[in-house]
């Protein structure tokens, strides 16, 4: 009977139906995908530190040691006193001894105060420790030792008047320092923007607009617009719109009211990736290299052609810029250059994009 073709067909169909049904069910187990992490692996990556200091490694560092690290690795961007806004927002300033008592930074209510520093905003000292540890210094993140992170944090806190000059910060006393953070009481959950239940946030959104459709009450005047002198501050808007369409971009290189050019002309590639001439000049790159055409060394465009396609082009080129070399382009050596990694990387980025003018 089992050899009957009819039964064989039914049997096969039945098996297929069963198989289909089985496939429609989500797999309960997903065997052989993923493996257990080793303790060593977890230790290597699990670096986060919570406000209750879970995750904080044992260690310590003094304000004095922190000042040494700071001046060597941090001050270029953040200023000697953490005050600089040249590269990043200022870290220090705007907090008072009174704030340390109240846990509220009073200047957050002073609309005349220029800017908000990190110490004015941050409520949790763990945040400083965690971020310095995971992301600083800017061009060499995760290169500080645990004790260096303690000491830099101590120095920063000292700049803000939160700990004294002879202070040694450690895993033992950091909870006490938390009680002196100037804005420790400055956070609120009074909003409906948390998409979960674990925090006691507000239930309803804070605005309640009504979709009026006719003769609605509206603002009676135009209260803000860009002044004429800012017309071209974002570049020529004609070059930032498609060359065809219902509207064209306004030619902001000319005064308002200038008739729009209607003819469609082939458009040149925009100058988004234009040569970083300031950087090239500042570092004297242009003494030996031109954008096109050989000088002492190969042109930037030749370099771009030869190395721009490499997967590691930016790393390779920025490394070459800083270390110099000989032999790739001939026997005239290129000396090592003293520019920073970030500058070298932006030149490398431009080279990778083909070194457009």
């Amino acid at each position: 009977m089992s050899s009957s073709p009819k039964f064989a067909v039914i049997g096969l169909l039945g098996a297929m139906l069963l198989a289909t049904a089985a496939h429609a069910q989500p797999a309960k187990d997903l065997p052989n995908v993923g493996r257990a992490a080793t303790a060593k692996e977890i230790a290597a990556w699990d670096i986060d530190v919570r406000p209750d200091f879970k995750g904080l490694p044992k260690g310590s560092g003094t304000v004095a040691k922190g000042q040494d690290v700071w001046e060597g690795k941090c001050a270029q961007c953040h200023g000697i006193f953490g005050e600089s806004g040249e590269v990043f927002s200022p870290l220090v300033g705007g907090t008072t001894p009174e704030d340390i008592k109240t846990g509220h930074v009073a200047r957050l209510n002073d609309r005349g105060f220029p800017g908000r520093t990190t110490l004015m905003k941050v409520a949790t000292v763990s945040t400083l420790w965690d971020y310095i540890n995971r992301a600083m210094p800017w061009t060499a993140p995760k290169s500080l030792t645990t004790d260096e992170v303690y000491s830099v944090t101590a120095f920063l806190l000292n700049l803000g008047g939160i700990v004294p000059e002879n202070f040694e910060l450690s895993d033992k006393n950091i909870a006490e320092v938390q009680q002196r953070m100037p804005n420790r009481n400055g956070m609120t959950l009074d909003h409906a923007l948390w998409p979960g239940k674990g925090l006691s946030t507000a239930k309803a959104p804070d605005t309640r607009n009504v979709a009026c459709m006719k003769d609605c009450e509206v603002g009676a005047k135009i209260s803000s617009f860009l002044p004429e002198h800012a017309r071209n501050a974002h570049g020529n808007l004609a070059e930032q719109n498609r060359s065809v369409g219902p509207q064209h971009g306004a030619d902001t290189s000319k005064p308002a009211g200038t008739p729009v050019q209607r003819a469609v002309e082939p458009v040149a590639a925009p100058k988004a990736a234009a040569a970083p001439m300031a950087l090239l000049n500042k570092n004297s790159c242009t003494a030996c290299h031109a954008v096109a055409g050989k000088l002492v060394g190969p042109s930037f465009q030749e370099i771009a052609k030869k190395h721009g396609e490499r997967g590691d082009a930016i790393a390779y080129l920025s490394g070459k810029i800083r270390s110099g070399g000989v032999g790739v382009w001939g026997q005239i050596p290129m000396p090592a250059q003293t520019l920073g990694e970030a500058d070298a990387a932006s030149i490398a980025q431009w080279l990778k994009s083909g070194a457009p003018r």
Binding site: L30, R35, A36, I42, W45, D46, I47, D48, R50, K54, V87, L108, G112, F113, K121, A123, T124, D130, Y131, R134, A135, P141, M187, T188, L189, D190, H191, W194, P195, G196, K197, P205, T207, A211, C212, K214, C216, G219, A220, K221, I222, F225, P227, E228, A230, H234, E239, N241, V244, G245, P246, Q247, T252, A256, G257, T258, R262, P266, A269, P270
Partner: protein, 461 residues
């Protein structure tokens, strides 16, 4: 006008940098002087102040031809009608037409001092539909972007304490891509999108005012599947920390409820291909409806725990200053918002007559229910057509017919989501939050169409 409406010295650079002090004074002087009358006079005054006193230029047809003659583009056959075109696979990976070269993501001058911790804005004024081409997706990097070898990328899953899960795990990309996958369309918006406009108009076009917004089809594994595999104790572990593999190793706290719902994805696909490096290749978190900073790129680790983490980007940045001096912390949801992308700031209408007003609406709380459009500064509204599939936590394209009579117009859009929440006006938003919160500005946007056809970014009060 209370003192909150004055621009304050704040760390976000754009408004102050963009308008020099004299410019800011001019803006506010203009705001305070006169112009008490309603619309018509307001238009004229703004036009004059913006230096557009010249006669209207948008008068003639934009498609002219002399009687009895013809368009040379028709009469003389072009090369492409008379010659042989290019071969297949001339470009192994095709590129946009060379005539599209103006459509680029761009930085806002003076917004940031480094290009590695910065933003580039998507050119919303030039995009159609709801999908952002991957190469035009906005960028926000905290410490520069990388192109990471996927064969060496790993995802680790562990707990703040050992008892949060049965076992900490490690996955390769091969393994993650073997798991059951889903593909979903979602918007991603930076929490600081439109942040430059809290106090006053600061930028000229929708690219800079709203361009930290993109939308893609993301493909990946629901994070829930991975947590189940690791045997997470959902009673204890109510928070999730996501961490990147780049220099900043960005971290953000995500509520477990979102993961349990199945909507949080560990994604590797974007619009049919792998993620672009600028968007976190090979792995990023997708947290629908939540601000972009939580969509951790170069995702290397997920930790489950019983408390939130107060990471740098939820304790120093991405906190919203309120008028009482307190900062809102863990503000995450991007509330219902919309903007007209065409016509929009910096464009010029070429002619009177018919136009299709088109824009985008989205909500971090679900689907868009309705979008209304006004051309008279919010006095009267008409409901727009919603195009295509209206998906939750996704961009929705809207369109509405408009015949421009050549007179000044104030174009606005106002979206409503499925919870009934209606996008607020600047007045309503500032009444609650003042002007210094940087993040979560979802106010109704106004574009002024001047008589000469040029469109300007304006705010009403």
């Amino acid at each position: 006008m209370n003192s909150d409406d004055k621009p304050s010295g704040r760390l976000i650079k754009a408004p102050e940098n963009f308008l020099d002090p004299a410019g800011i004074r001019q803006v506010f002087a203009e705001a305070k002087n006169g112009r008490r009358d309603f619309m018509r006079k307001a238009f004229a005054a703004a036009g004059a102040a913006a230096g557009a006193a010249a006669a209207p230029v948008a008068l003639a047809t934009s498609n002219p031809v002399q009687a009895g003659e013809g368009d040379p583009n028709i009469l003389t056959l072009p090369e492409h009608s008379k010659g042989l075109g290019q071969a297949v696979a001339t470009e192994g990976y095709g590129k946009p037409s060379k005539y599209e070269a103006n459509v680029q993501r761009r930085q806002s001058p003076g917004l940031t001092q480094t290009a590695q911790a910065s933003v580039s804005f998507a050119p919303l004024q030039s995009l159609f539909g709801i999908v952002t081409p991957s190469g035009l997706h906005f960028e926000r990097h905290h410490q520069g972007w990388w192109d990471i070898d996927p064969s060496r990328h790993r995802l680790m899953l562990n707990g703040s304490d050992a008892d949060m899960l049965k076992k900490a795990m490690v996955f390769t990309m091969d393994e993650l891509m073997r798991l059951p996958s889903v593909s979903r369309f979602h918007f991603i918006e930076c929490g600081a999108n439109t942040g430059m406009e809290w106090g006053n108009v600061a930028v000229p076009t929708v690219q800079y005012s709203h361009g930290m917004l993109s939308c893609s089809e993301f493909t990946g594994v629901p994070l829930r599947i991975l947590l189940d595999l690791a045997g997470v104790d959902y009673k204890k572990a109510r928070f999730v920390l996501a961490e990147g593999a780049d220099g900043s190793s960005m971290t953000r706290t995500i509520p477990m409820e979102m993961v349990e719902s199945g909507e949080v994805l560990v994604a590797y696909g974007q619009n049919g291909e792998m993620l672009r490096p600028e968007q976190g290749y090979p792995l990023r978190l997708v947290v629908p409806g939540v601000q972009g900073v939580s969509w951790v790129k170069y995702l290397r680790r997920i930790e489950v725990g019983d408390k939130p983490y107060a990471s740098k980007d939820e304790a120093i940045h991405y906190i919203d200053l309120m008028p009482n001096g307190q900062h809102r912390q863990y503000s995450s949801i991007q509330e219902c918002k919309s903007v007209v992308t065409t016509p929009s700031g910096g464009q010029v209408l070429l002619d009177k007559g018919f136009y299709n007003i088109s824009g985008l609406a989205w909500s971090g709380r679900g689907r868009i229910k309705r979008v209304d459009v006004s051309v008279d500064g919010g006095r009267n509204w008409r409901s727009a057509r919603l195009e295509g599939a209206v998906l939750p936590k996704c961009l929705t394209r809207f369109n509405i017919d408009w015949v421009w009579d050549g007179k000044p117009a104030l174009i606005q859009s106002r979206a409503m989501d499925e919870t009934g929440y209606v996008q607020p006006s600047y007045k309503q938003l500032r009444e609650v939050r003042s002007t210094r919160s940087i993040y979560h500005n979802n106010a109704v946007q106004t574009w002024l169409v001047q008589e000469d056809g040029e469109v300007k970014n304006v705010q009403l009060s």
